[in-house]
Symmetry: C2
Subunit: 323 residues, 2 copies
């Protein structure tokens, strides 16, 4: 959440001149995105988000992300289309860093969704799964079970115990079985893989934007639903499970794309895996981030609670599906 | 440059409902302001900046800052007017913190001004001096010479030497004489006191916004011109003095408000004082900020160079005035 690079008005105006978007009127660095710098750009013709890719993003992967946005936007999904420059490029380089101009979408992210909002989010997720059926590019998920193990192996037991004394045992109790029983045969497609509330823009009950596709990849569609379920069903004033939000997410999803029996049966395992994915990255980032750094570290224990919830409740956590 | 506090969509919508500005459409945390959190707010009726006062700002001083904006905006100066809530309040409280909604102004900040832009900035500065002649509220400058001394006395010689071995001697050579010869009788008024390029929004050669009035106070008008001169005349690809920009700032100012002979004679001293003011705060902040913090520390030595330049060149740095 930061602007890592300073771009002067001259650099911005020069950049904008390569696009058919009008004259620069305003540019504000915005606190959005985990590892990119972002500006809200206004011209005399409209508003745009300018993203500079700072870290974590491999430029070789940008065509996948940006083409996916174009593909989904062309099919009517509420995602920001990439603005191409006058030569047709989806991104340009400034001082060795890639920058892309994308549509600005209205809407705000909610902290505590209503059931109607959660239903709309489930629908929107299924809609991008259906709309990407004929998207031909692929990208391997670099946060699959073997990567969780790799990340956690870089953390010592002492480091993990400092976060919570029980954390090493909990990981040891769950990670091996998640890896050995992880599905291999579920329907695959292009997934968002990180559809947390802050990546969804809403106007009342309508999804006006799905954003931040920089974890998107080719993987099980039901895993994306599991990530979304883990991300939304515990949101709100307390962090307990909300059966109402859970049902709304699942109901919205199924209203657009019907899950198979195999996918339904796999949901508890996929949800535990989704929780472990965030335990792994949050534990790694926690240990990798100085305690006095200005970035807020995210507590992996939030997702330990969710993992344990899914472990205890099994298919009942997905009640409407299992009935 | 950060957003220190999270405000959820629900909190934002509730806040906005107290103002006659329409329905919330978008809210983006923006990387602007040194010690406040800021959001660019869009409603179905317009755009606004929401500021939450986090640190350094004493709530008791908010009426001065916000009333000054209203006063200047009403007189046609390009400053953001305060949006008052339905009960007429200029600010509201959220969780013990004050928030204010102000106008959004278009324009971008330049890194390297043209002479035309610098002329317009000089004009805009003089215009707020004239427009505030009948502004009746006052606020003591809490960064006047005695405060520079207080700040620097909190820094040890070792700490200062770590920034630059010459820094303690340079301060010792200049601070006492600045304090003893500081003027007492120059024309006073309401000054911005921090008119750096990032606090000026420009659309081509036109000043579209003067922002960030949170150092504004009652002090010598010519000191404000000196601060602006120090802030702008060394800006650009190298940090050497630009006689062209200097002349443009001074010429623009004088085209709106004529300096007295006493003010002109005092300019070299005031400019050295302005440089010392930034040396003092930057030295204090440098020592007060961990080297590994994510905020970029500003090097006080930039202003040591400017102080030495003014010391050596005297009135010739203000050539059009002294002729």
């Amino acid at each position: 959440m930061a602007v890592y690079t300073h771009l002067g008005a001259g650099e911005l105006a020069e950049l904008i001149s390569h696009y058919d978007v009008g004259q620069l009127v305003s540019a504000k660095g915005i606190a959005e995105g985990i590892s990119n710098s972002n500006w809200l750009i206004e011209t005399d013709r409209g508003r745009y988000i300018l993203t500079m890719y700072e870290r974590r993003i491999d430029i070789a992967e940008l065509p996948f992300f940006l083409s996916l946005l174009d593909h989904l936007a062309a099919k009517g999904c509420p995602v920001p289309a990439t603005i191409h420059d006058r030569e047709g490029n989806a991104y340009r380089m400034i001082d060795g860093k890639a920058v892309a101009l994308i549509e600005f979408l209205p809407g705000v992210s909610v902290d505590a969704p209503t059931a109607s909002q959660a239903y709309a989010v489930g629908q929107a997720l299924a809609a991008i799964h259906r709309a990407s059926e004929d998207f031909t590019m692929t990208r391997e998920n670099d946060l699959r079970p073997s990567n969780w193990k790799d990340l956690l192996e870089q953390c010592t037991a002492d480091d993990m115990s400092a976060i919570d004394p029980d954390l090493p045992d909990i990981i040891a109790a769950h990670l091996p079985s998640l890896m050995s029983s992880w599905p291999t045969e579920l329907p695959r497609g292009t997934i968002h893989a990180d559809l947390f509330p802050d990546n969804v823009l809403l106007l009342d009950d309508k999804v006006s934007g799905l954003i931040d596709f920089y974890f998107s990849c080719s993987d099980f569609l039901a895993y994306d639903l599991a990530v979304t379920h883990v991300a939304w069903s515990f949101v709100g004033s307390d962090t307990g499970f909300s059966a109402e939000i859970s049902e709304a997410i699942l109901g919205g999803y199924q209203s657009v794309r019907q899950l198979s029996a195999d996918e339904i049966a796999a949901m508890p395992l996929l949800a535990k895996g989704a929780a472990m994915r965030f335990i792994a990255t949050r534990t790694f980032d926690w240990i990798d981030t100085p305690a006095d750094a200005l970035v807020t570290r995210k507590d992996p224990m939030d997702f330990v609670k969710r993992l344990q919830f899914y472990d205890e409740s099994g298919l009942t956590a997905f009640a409407p599906l299992s009935q």
